[in-house]
Amino acid sequence: MKKWLRPALDLALLAALVAAPLYLSAYHLSLLGRFLAMAILSLGLCLVWGWSGVLSLGQGVFWGLGAYVLVMHLKLVGLQPGDMPDFMLWSGLDHTPGWWTLFRHPAVALAGVLIVPTVAAAGLAWLVFNRRVGGIYFALITQALALAFATLLISEQAYTGGFNGLTDFTTVLGHYIVDPSFQRALYWITVGALAAAFLFCRWMGKTNFGKVLLAIRDGESRIRFLGYNPAGYKTIAFAIGGAFAGISGALYVLHVGVISPAMVGVMPSIEMVVAVAVGGRSSFTGVILGTLLVNFGKDWISSAMPEMWQLSIGLLFILVVTLLPKGLAGIPELGRQITERIRRRTARRGVEPEVLAITQKN
């Protein structure tokens, strides 16, 4: 590929996204907006899985933490002074707990969206990686985390809204959420956040840190014998992945207006991974496209034939992993390899028969 081609493609994609309100209906724009919010999580997963080789099956947890923190704030600002959230009343609480009211101030809420998922991710990663447990074990532990998180949210109804989750919030920083102009602004904010996350990832790829991550993915012990401690690198990478997930969750919840345990558990976490796998786990542009493709696909299939979605995502997993491990981003390379093979085969036809016989024997 020509050197200018990739940045040119990225810029074209950005331009198409920025201009989307001009050519998309409000409905499709709102879909695109929430999927772009998901793409921020995918970029984090790309760093974590594609670059460091750490597979997380519990990314929904960090996404959910970001979303819940923001929604707690939104619920609080919608209240009259002295009131408490409706579901708390129904559950028989007599006052709003302190860890809720903490997020009343927008600045605290914003900081919480960033800090809570990041710290949770960093803490888990450090505890596991520092003991040199990784790979499959880590994937299984993160899955158990997703399960435990969702069950916890459901059971602590008085504090989390339980199975139905939290909804009914109307204003953000004084703006009405349903207002079309706010929706458009939210869309652009999402595009901006995604672009910033993308540039951050590109920069990471160029730093020594990024190179060490690749080295860890390809052979953890080798980098250890050069004096690097993989646990520290993987923890930071995973914390960044957690931060991205939190931002993604907070933006997503603004787009859809509801958060519930069903959105953060085992299944959604796995769907986040499949989007990244389809796009190409170590390509930043690839995972953004993969996320859009898988989510629009999901929207289309599950409205046309609801029972087919689970079947399709299952098949998608098997096919991508076995046939296209580099995802969409691997297609140009695959194409090159195929044309190369065809070129070689046609070149061989011109070779003398004896030589051909020998090469075939080999």
């Binding site: 597979l55 003991r131 447990v133 059971s155 029972e307 299952g314 997993f317 992993v321």
Partner: protein, 303 residues
Amino acid sequence: MGHLAVLTGQLFNGISVGSILLLTALGLALSFGLMNVINMAHGEMLMVGGYVAYLTCRFVHGPAGFLLALLFSFLGAAVLGGVLEVTVIRWLYGRPLDTLLATWGVSLILQQGARSLFGAIGVDVVAPHWLSGSVAINHGVLAGLTLPYVRIFIILLTIVTFALLLLFIARTRWGLFLRAVHQDREMAQALGVNTKWVDLLVFAAGTGVAGLAGAALALIAPVTPTVGQSYVVYAFLVVIVGGLGSLLGTALAALLVGLFSSTVQMFTGVSLSDVFLLVLVIVFIQFRPRGIIFQRSRVMKEA
């Protein structure tokens, strides 16, 4: 009912939950130790075993019906496992994380398949006549305690299966091959052991035992398309705590996890016990990152 009776009842429940966990985790531990592969569709083997038991009991009545159901559950899940090994897992050798994802895909397809065939609502396997009823204790400090026959049967089934498996590994030719491949795959291959067959056999046997677990579970809970998924996450934790491919470690870990959850549930309820279990596993890793039983070997493999 006295405190002691309640406690004993919970311990008994813990052991029976641990039994099903052990049956589920055995296959996972075997294939993880041997092939470094985790089969995310393992829970669906449990589900398949449950549905096979359901079908068998519908068509075969009488006291032998359930015993036949156990046999068919084992065979059905084993054949399915064999097919999975040959069509998917074999091709992803040396890519453990990719195997995990591909088998997750298989698990989704199997779940949807079951939903289309049997519906989303669970089906029940009615325990045969000779398993209905329970041991009731009416006197002494344990007065009020009842131990259902079904749960006693599950515990016995697990003990017998575990013993047979150990015997198979220790005494038979294929068991010897298994140990050889486990210790040094290349060397075993060089000595003429057909490692592909060993992998296939062990994988199928492991999924078969999970099928057995599914049939046993069907006695105490309805079979649903997602019944496996809810159990298998705990089985994964059992494998982590048990140590890489150690059967004894797996047994201890299953018992530990079963007892832990049923005891914690007494105080906190089901959902918090999940959280505490996860915390326990993470704390456990701090002290024994390689599991309860880990053999020191020359090459320290990356887990």
